[in-house]
């Protein structure tokens, strides 16, 4: 199978940018990625992208240029960016085009998401009676996970503490203030056991990648990052997912587990080979669950790893080196590609103060979310 490489990365800063639409932020990210790759928009032969709340990705052509290219709108919830990337990789492998773009962007209203039950195939009562909240789901899943695996709430604090510590080292992060253990542990309960600083916020931003066949990559850059795997999977019956009025008696592995296994298989590597990691950290509990679901430790081992500093930038398993969703917020459409960009910068050794030491060779990104989707990539250094 033809290898595909990322030759350009670009972002519009995550956070809040009043007066700038999500689409303008997406177009900005594409321009930055094109600049990084040294190519122009009219050289791009295929594009995939999407947002959850900021409109169609193909409308970015109105900003970038109406070149007639096939531009496919992706609407895959939290896996929108990952799905766009997997689709561009497949399109380039098929020979459909020489250069492809994957882009995600978003602009969410402040506060928690307020979904409509009918959009999810649910009756009105589920929303009306106060059960349809993503934060509740994360709390219920975390509470059960901590109970089953004997993990204390200390681990939830440490995840957030490391995220904001890394955010403080990241010039483009939204949250750049390191928080003390006490500040996090004593912050306002949102949905116990999760507190204010253990949740990421819906946000705004854009992220884009330019890709081509690896055999052509050196025409554009001396630092191409190889895509060794880009996989997206959906849930099975019995998986514990958001907005579930009931759960089946028999639990099934999460979509993260199936996406992760498929990615390792495609790349021909295992979790022990990975040097830098991005895990979906919608909240502290999710990151803890995802450490094990992606194969980086056993269930229940996380608290020890966190206490030992193993997930810090200078640890054995550096996780969310840019502060993850906790420090960057979550513009749903862009979030998965933000992870890929951070790992690219780490593999290109351009991550500045947050650079993982020892020239990391293999990086891993994992996104997970509504409605029970996960996307995983494995990337290799130039």
């Amino acid at each position: 199978m033809e290898d595909i490489a990322i030759i350009g990365v670009g972002m519009h800063r995550f956070g809040r940018t009043d007066g700038v639409s999500g689409q303008v932020q997406g177009a900005h990210a594409v321009r930055e990625a094109l600049k990084d790759a040294g190519v122009s928009w009219d050289q791009v032969g295929v594009a995939y992208g999407g947002s959850q709340d900021a409109g169609n990705a193909d409308a970015l052509s109105n900003h970038l240029g109406l070149t007639g290219l096939p531009f496919v709108n992706v609407a895959n919830g939290c896996a929108t960016g990952g799905s766009a990337l997997a689709s561009v990789v497949a399109a380039l492998r098929s020979g459909m085009s020489d250069i492809g773009v994957a882009v995600g962007f978003d602009k969410h209203p402040r506060g928690a998401f307020n979904p409509r039950p009918a959009d999810w195939g649910l009756e009105d009562w589920y929303g009306e009676t106060g059960l349809m909240l993503t934060t509740q789901f994360f709390a219920l899943k975390t509470q059960r996970y901590l109970h089953e695996h004997g993990i204390s709430e200390d681990a939830l604090v440490r995840v957030a503490q490391r995220a904001f510590q890394n955010g403080a080292l990241t010039p483009h992060a939204w949250r750049q203030r390191a928080l003390s253990y006490e500040e996090i542990a004593e912050s306002m309960p949102v949905n116990l056991p999760l507190r204010k600083y253990m949740f990421c916020n819906p946000a705004e931003g854009g992220a884009a990648l330019v890709l081509c066949r690896a055999s052509e990559a050196h025409r554009y850059t001396d630092r191409p990052v190889l895509v060794r795997a880009a996989v997206m999977r959906t849930r099975h019956h019995g998986s514990f997912e958001v907005f579930s009025p009931s759960l089946a008696a028999e639990a099934a592995p999460a979509p993260t587990v199936t996406a992760s296994r498929a990615a390792y298989e495609e790349a021909g590597v295992g979790p022990e080979d990975i040097n830098v990691i991005q895990l979906q950290d919608t909240d502290s509990g999710s990151e803890i669950i995802h450490l094990a679901e992606n194969g980086f430790c056993e269930h229940g081992e996380q608290e020890y790893l966190l206490r030992q500093g193993e997930t810090n930038i200078d640890g054995r398993l550096p996780v969310n080196t840019d502060g993850g969703c906790l420090a960057n917020g979550e513009p749903v459409g862009a979030s998965g590609l933000r992870q890929v960009i951070e790992v690219c910068l780490q593999l290109r050794q351009q991550a500045g103060a947050r650079q993982v030491p020892g020239a990391p060779r293999l990086g891993y990104t994992h996104v997970y979310g509504a409605p029970g989707v996960s996307a995983v990539t494995i990337l290799e250094a130039p």
Binding site: N114, G130, L131, L140, H147, P245, S246, A248
Partner: protein, 149 residues
């Protein structure tokens, strides 16, 4: 509950009053026997589409819980002013068949909520509209000493 005002029961269709009292209604797959709540017309386990309505009971144990500490935005319709909002408990209750039902809880004190505690089904008021009290199903601790006052 005040019987002098009209009641809007948001989930009456999910409940049945049988000899055992109030029970939850769901469905069961005729082919693979998997349980569903609320009732569905297809089975995501075996991909079958022959379903039968069934009762899921009224007693269970608390499988997981949280406390909803902030007032939800729409579609929540509790109707209280922001300053009157009171935190409420939410949990999954494991029923005898093994299915876990998501439900509001009648208590919200985290020191009184423990995974594994026995709970049973009740009806509870959760808010007010212009002309009615809003009611739904909820689970409450079965051991009275655990109950809040």
């Amino acid at each position: 509950m005040n019987d002098n005002v009209s009641v809007h029961h948001a989930t009456r269709h999910l409940l049945n009053t049988s000899e055992q009292g109030l029970v939850l209604l769901g469905s069961r797959c005729v082919t693979c026997h998997e349980y569903y709540f609320p009732a569905t017309d297809s089975c995501t386990r075996c991909c079958g589409s022959q379903m039968a309505v069934c009762e899921l009971g009224s007693q269970g144990t608390l499988w997981s819980w949280t406390v909803q500490a902030f007032q939800p935005k729409s579609p929540y319709n509790g109707g209280e002013a922001p300053e009157d909002f009171e935190a409420y408990g939410v949990g999954y209750i494991e029923m005898p068949s093994g299915i876990r039902i998501e439900s509001r809880l009648t208590i919200s004190d985290p020191t009184k909520l423990t995974i594994g505690m026995p709970m049973h089904l009740v009806e509870a008021d959760y808010g007010k509209s212009a002309d009615a009290v809003l009611r739904t199903f909820a689970f409450t601790p079965s051991n009275p000493t655990e109950e809040s006052v």
